[in-house]
Symmetry: C2
């Protein structure tokens, strides 16, 4: 195991009706003038926004609102949010929504008290200071509710980039599984896929002797495999949604990823898809993961065989471990298909002729010089082959 | 899953040589005058205490020291520590040792700024304020490095009682697995047993639909079963100790115990043993757990069968699930025996004739009125039978 530090100071309130305590928690963590940041109409239609406003009013906290966050959140709205926060002297940002809303909130929280262009943080500058952030999560997926990360897309060039820093870890996150019950099945499944991707990105490691984190990741994957179909079958299954919601947080607060190298090549390869086609991140990952895994599994057949046997219940083929490894990847594909995820370019709305564009953005964007690194280093040729495997 | 809150704000620095950063972390978390609290001679003999002092000096932090913490830490030394902290105007308590040292440090940190008798916190008063605490852990066992709990024994009557509060969560904890390599095998095994007990106490629940925490607990138990024998076989196995050390923290910071009722009857039943005989807590738990589980397994055969199949690799006997449940408990017993733990009163140094004394203290101490509650409520008769099963 490698040396590491771990710090996850977010206060979590989990369960039914917990959103009604939003005002109490904003107060506890020092907010007096809040920006409520949210996405589209569902937060309004469901009455959630009104309940949150009521909770803040009852706690004597004033607020302004900014809606309109889209999936794959854009820099334009972040600039608007920063301007609004400065003008209104906002001292706390409350995200009401999913990963996109939370990531946009994190960008606004950091950008408001930064002299330069907030995009600096998304091109390598670490975030050291930000307004305090709280979240009310409406989809189990991104894990942003317990992470120090944010991903934003810049409209000019559609660059999708990440920023990081303990300062943008939420002070509190409210997780009420019931709020996710109204999600369309496709979004629920995309969220499940995103969570499983966060686990796979950590599982694919070159570090040795990492049994404890292996076992934690496997346990969370087993949970997703058990609970995912339950919630697709019955969207109102609160208990299944609750298990998925806590798994989503645990999958990404890094308690199961410490002390080991991680991959993130599937995420990098997918980011170009959702940047270009504006598809759901989880759907892009469903197309990306099996292709990447089939391309790289020979790098460590034993690890893929372990995943296949421990997580997918495959029988170990001791004469031919590669067969077991591939059986595990096939089981993942079947699972993703069974919950309604796309598995190829056509189903995702991606086009073969865009592959050179995707590869160029992937291998040369974000300061890269011809390759991406992770579990395996992949150059232009590798990435081209991987995208072609998705056709 | 039940509603819950979760808050684990401790900063963890994990790995080789991390103790040399003690000064840096004390400074980061606001300490300028430190009490270094420790136990016996090993911390001195190994040179650890000197390295810690050097690190504080290099960071310009002054300190006083108080050694002498014993296993099952006593109230007498806590009073001494409180007096010393007040006299020397200490503003930070640094625990260098295992769970006993950390628990004693927590009591001192809370007691120093409290007007009344610190023992109030151990008879029901919640700890709301304390001096900040840091820890340098020297044994993987108690999980106190990441928990809001402390257990102290009062000399008068040898009452062993717990206190709790977020204020005594360590600000930082330094976990260097190499520091545990010099531990005697018996202490290492007792630590392993304590960690496994923390997992079992959470696993035995009456809450339904808790797959995610079930799977996390199972993953940590599987880790202990894999890594425990490796470290007993070779005490210098850094990697095995590293896996155990992180598992020990994760087992007790409650991320795998949220949203479910928990047991803690084994701990309560054991506490009377270590209070009376001053045995190692982990050794007491090795004697206690199998007896308790054999006494209560019929309350939920399915749960014990799940534990047996998922964790101990037993084949499910679909015609006779009770057999599977008991097979799992037998596997636990065999495991504990294999790492050198005692399994009965004689091996522990306990005496049959003390059972009435133990039961009285257990069922009527600490404000109880004739029973203890958890997975199953156990009255005097039950507890007598359980202690007799340990003979």
């Amino acid at each position: 195991m490698e040396n590491f530090t771990f710090y996850s100071p977010t206060f979590f309130a989990f369960g039914k009706d917990t959103e009604n305590d939003a005002g109490k928690y904003v107060k506890r963590f020092g907010g007096s003038k809040v920006l409520i940041h949210y996405g589209g109409g569902s937060v309004v239609r469901s009455g959630l926004l009104d309940r949150v406003k009521k909770s803040l009013e009852e706690a004597g906290i004033s607020f302004v609102t900014l809606g309109g966050v889209k999936p794959n959140p854009r820099s334009g709205l972040v600039y608007d949010g920063i301007e609004l926060c400065r003008k209104e002297k906002v001292d706390f940002v409350l995200a009401v929504g999913g990963g996109s809303v939370i990531d946009s909130s994190k960008a606004i929280a950091a950008g408001t008290i930064y002299d330069g262009d907030f995009w600096d943080f998304y091109t390598g500058k670490r975030i050291e200071e930000a307004l305090p952030i709280g979240t009310i999560l409406t989809i189990a997926a991104a894990g942003s509710e317990g992470s120090p990360d944010s991903v934003i897309t810049k409209e000019e060039g559609m660059f999708k980039r990440g920023a990081s820093g303990d300062a943008i870890r939420p002070k509190f996150s409210i997780l009420n599984p019931a709020l996710t019950q109204t999600l369309p099945a496709y979004q629920t499944a995309a969220g499940i896929t995103d969570i499983m991707a966060h686990l796979h990105e950590r599982y694919l490691t070159n570090s040795k002797d990492v049994e404890v984190t292996d076992r934690l990741i496997e346990g969370l994957l087993l949970t997703m495999i058990h609970e995912g179909p339950r919630v697709i079958e019955n969207p109102d299954n609160y208990e299944a949604r609750a298990n998925i919601m806590w798994a989503g947080m645990m999958a990404h607060n890094n308690s199961c990823g410490v002390g080991r190298s991680q991959d993130w090549n599937s995420h990098n390869i997918e980011h170009e898809l959702s940047a270009l086609y504006d598809c759901a991140h989880g759907a892009g990952l469903a197309v990306t993961m099996p292709a990447v895994f089939k391309y790289v599994y020979k790098h460590d057949v034993s690890r893929f065989a372990k995943l296949a046997t421990r997580v997918w219940g495959c029988q170990m083929d001791f004469d031919d471990p590669e067969r077991t490894a591939l059986e595990g990847i096939a089981a993942l594909e079947n699972f993703l298909k069974s919950i309604g995820m796309p598995l190829n370019f056509a189903e995702l709305g991606a086009k073969e002729e865009d592959i050179p564009t995707l590869v160029k953005a992937l291998c040369y964007g974000d300061g890269r010089t011809g390759s991406i690194s992770g579990f395996v280093t992949l150059d232009e040729e590798d990435c081209t082959k991987i995208y072609k495997m998705m056709i």
